[in-house]
Subunit: 198 residues, 2 copies
Amino acid sequence: MESHPPAGGHSVRTRSQHQRRKRIVQAAAALASRGGVEAMQMRTVAERAGVALGTLYRYFPSKMDLVVAVVGEEIDLLESSIERRPPGASTPASRAVDVLMRATRGLMREPELADALIRSLIMAEVQTPFGDRMTGLLLRVSAEGLTLEQASEEQRDLAGSLASVWVQELLEMLRGRRTYDQIQRRIETAAARLLAGI
Amino acid sequence: MESHPPAGGHSVRTRSQHQRRKRIVQAAAALASRGGVEAMQMRTVAERAGVALGTLYRYFPSKMDLVVAVVGEEIDLLESSIERRPPGASTPASRAVDVLMRATRGLMREPELADALIRSLIMAEVQTPFGDRMTGLLLRVSAEGLTLEQASEEQRDLAGSLASVWVQELLEMLRGRRTYDQIQRRIETAAARLLAGI
DNA sequence: ACAGATATTAGAATCTGTTCTAGTTTGCGA
DNA sequence: TCGCAAACTAGAACAGATTCTAATATCTGT
């Protein structure tokens, strides 16, 4: 209640703290993209980031918080990719499918990282903006640049449901139970119904 | 390659081994229904089940395998509940909603257990019949007692998607981000579209 | 520049899942 | 019934996340 640690994902006081945080997240991402979560050991992350273990824990109170931060960066990448090259398809559903499959391909490129991130996110006790950000993204591309706030409750429900389906399919893929094509088919089927006339 | 351990969830040789396995699963469930996964410590489970730690690990090679076993029991309960009192609603979608919300209420009764189970299931490397069993259940109640094998690919995709939405909603609830009513609304919305004319 | 608060560090300590060891018990075919 | 292979037991050992400690370094306001 008295101390003011650099808060996992929020404001940081000094420039050097900002740098430190960045180094930590980068080190974590690098390790995870090799051997997945197991390779991303807290001691190792601290070492690679040139920081004491205690400091790492001051920035990220648990390994999960660190993973969440890494995921944040990944979503940033996806968002900027979509900004750079927005989906051009003509229906809301197909634009949404475009975005989701683009994200899927991105994650497939680093399976270890993807596995670590998705699983950890799902496990997180932490409040993760993951689902909401994905839902917002879907609304934006499928319904006239709608934001989460502007959307009707039903629109949010529908976009959120599609995001849920995607996450689960991703998990199945990581378990080796889905191929890219199967995911695409399922996402298309679900999107066609969930986003019809949205 | 040479030893033949009692295989986590399969055949068991003797009666006493069957008993032992049962005691273990019961002890695990009891502990989990109190303090969740954390309370379900392997040492404690072993102790409560009156079994050596090594033996516990012979039956369940990892904590996850043990959790999967506990979940199996829970799904059995749901299935028999549905057999006893099948959903009576008139549309496929509302029958599906009935089943899912019944399952939701069941899990809400033991939140700690539910949390442990759902999370672990999602994390499991193991091949868990969870999604498939849920999907099969949904097909059965919504489309004329269809089985997973008889259903068309599209039917399986749609029922599977609904199951995905449900799982994610359950997770959100366990994170304290959904109320029962919100879940019900979302499931209804999704089911109406995904199962229309199935 | 000084004082007190905050941040960082190295490293030990703790906790829980998992593995290993050595010895004992049990089940079962000959 | 005898003897072996498999199962079981108690407990030590190991691994990685998390916590704790005592000392040092850095900041901030004055």
